[in-house]
Symmetry: C2
Subunit: 376 residues, 2 copies
């Protein structure tokens, strides 16, 4: 019987009775009960029944076990996947989801990124260096003129990409469509002058229907990428927009994910939540805290996210964006740790340069070019 399964691995802070516990979850999270039902029905339910996979204990106080959930119990939505593998279970004391293996029969029902590393390199014609992105600061309260000036300064500094600050919602003074129109002009002018392509990623947010509506209007106005914070909007709106063939690059922001991935015995491993899931949902770039900056996570966690974004698989590799407190002085370290298929993403460092934003952006791009000189 071909019965593909999603394999979820959990870590718990004990090592006793792991098999019994795993069995109880395998039954409870699929068909509810087993021994009390008659053989005929047991037979018909076998293909829906979860099974226990590997069980191991590294130490007296760390146990691991895997559960195999039949794909036939699932639908291709993040809501379904997360509810089955870590819904009620997330509340069951100290238990952490540490691995998730999706069979191709299931994974292929998700969209994945439209571009990924190869697509973005081809689009930009940038092949031998990381991408460089800067972030608006002081966007709240900015007039359209102030927005325009700040964008022009960043683009004049030579960055590839400029993204909205993720906390920017109050855009009455500088409405979305106006921002797109302005940035298109400035980017077209630079492309004509220098040949360098650039993108602007506005914050795509709100309730799902608002996001859908804004995406549609923004695309009609020429939008060429979007920032999205899937852990506050829900991952499935990204799945949905990608399924509807919206094929501009999405940049996923990790807002609100900290409580789930925090270095504790609950929640979900960073590489699953910020690596595997957004890649499956359709992000082309995923931002996450670097090991060095102002908001930092442990180096092994950052590297594990990076590997998930770029491990071989059904979907294109995703650009990883180790972020927060990034400045020119960190560029060589970032490239050493994460390679070239990343985005160097900086905000404060760009804008706080003593000679202004353009100089700050230039310093960042120069640092990248210097490190990559041999290959550029």
């Amino acid at each position: 019987m071909n019965n593909p399964v999603v394999v979820a691995t959990y870590e718990v802070p004990w090592a006793e009775n792991l098999a019994e516990r795993a069995h109880s979850i395998a039954i409870g999270m699929t068909i509810g009960s087993w021994n009390d039902i008659n053989p005929a029905r047991q037979k018909s339910l076998l293909e829906f029944r979860g099974e226990v996979g590997d069980i191991s204990c590294e130490r007296q106080d760390v146990g691991r076990f895997s559960i195999k959930y039949p794909v036939r119990n699932l639908k291709p939505s993040m809501a379904s996947l997360l509810t089955v593998v870590f819904g009620k279970l997330s509340l069951d004391g100290q238990i952490r989801l540490v691995n998730l293996e999706l069979p191709d029969e299931y994974a292929r029902q998700f969209p994945g990124p439209s571009h990924g590393v190869p697509g973005l390199r081809a689009k930009f014609g940038v092949h031998h260096r990381p991408f460089v992105m800067s972030i608006f600061k002081r966007e709240n309260g900015a007039t359209l003129e102030e927005f325009q000036e700040a964008f022009q300064q960043q683009i004049d500094g030579g960055v590839d990409w400029v993204k909205d600050d993720e906390i920017y919602f109050n855009d009455e003074q500088a409405p979305l469509l106006e921002r797109i129109r302005l940035t298109r002009q400035i980017l077209a002018e630079r492309a004509q002058r220098t040949g360098q392509l650039g993108l602007y990623a506005p914050n795509l947010t709100g309730t799902p229907a608002q996001m859908r509506d804004n995406a549609k209007r923004a695309l009609e106005a020429g939008a060429d990428s979007f920032l999205i914070a899937p852990f506050v909007t829900g991952l499935d709106i990204l799945v949905e927009l990608r399924r509807e063939k919206i094929d501009v690059p999405f940049i996923a922001h990790p807002a609100f994910s900290g409580g789930i991935i925090g270095p504790h015995a609950w929640g979900v491993s960073p590489d699953i939540l910020l690596g595997l899931l957004p890649r499956l949902a359709g992000a082309d770039i995923v931002l996450f805290p670097s090991p060095y900056g102002s908001v930092a996570i442990a180096r092994p966690d950052a590297l594990a996210i990076h590997r998930r974004l770029q491990e071989p698989g059904r979907f294109p590799e995703v650009i990883s964006g180790p972020s927060a407190g990034i400045h020119a002085g960190l560029v060589s370290q970032l490239i050493e740790d994460f390679g070239y298929d990343i985005v160097i993403n900086a905000g404060s460092a760009v804008h706080s340069h003593p000679n202004g934003t353009t100089a700050g952006a230039r310093v960042l791009m120069d640092a990248v070019l210097e490190v990559c000189h041999g290959n550029a």
Copy 2:
């Protein structure tokens, strides 16, 4: 100047430099920087600037501080609210969101529950006891006939409400609209025979557009309530459906919330995540782990969720559902701890009764009637 603010309170495991840290967040999470901008612009940005509120330290290793975020920086979506108060900040080391005060200018832009306690009591004509709900078990793999039989048995046992299991997605054998049609017949028949009203809550899930579409089709078929798991679907789809005047009761399931609320120094307090937010979004019932059952949280946490659901405020009180491993023997304890405005919600205990599901449901309802006898 009338400048309403959302006040968020954070707890951190240290007590030094709290004022400095709070100031940095207040500026960083609103306008980015302050001292480096000229007085004219400072003046225009003042109404967008965050302010530090109360600061306290209970012990050497526990600090608390509040930040006031101007409502004008926000939009009335959970995506906006959560990104501003706990987006990037959620990733900033050990920090926990422990309180959230929303001014009426902001809260009133959310829908809140359509019924709440008074609405549901009026609808059911049930005034002096908790509601009683049972949950399908072994729904995966069930044929329509098996579903019908299980529903009939639960209803014959006298429960008010029957809900889908939250892990039920594979409904090819018992399609949503067929289930609604069947349950309507069974409920109408009981109402005619006994006068007791009943509701069936199918699992409303999928991507946002699928949920919207399913809600629409289900309502046309006569659906009278929905189960929703807002921490996997995103809270904003609930906000959106409620804004569109879908006014059947929503039951919010806590799936996936465990990692965020877990008793650790990250994430969000249970009463905010499972109390304040779903009430704001529009849930009429919120399920959460009771302090007694199979999947348990600490008693003070469960009581704090309950208080949030029922504290006086703009929106109707929400029925709280301390759940998981609930059985007849816990009913008097549940009522003692949480009062009458709750739902007694049981699954396994109902179905595992030696005399069958109907007997199990009857035992549960009888336990409720017995405890409430004096007032029934």
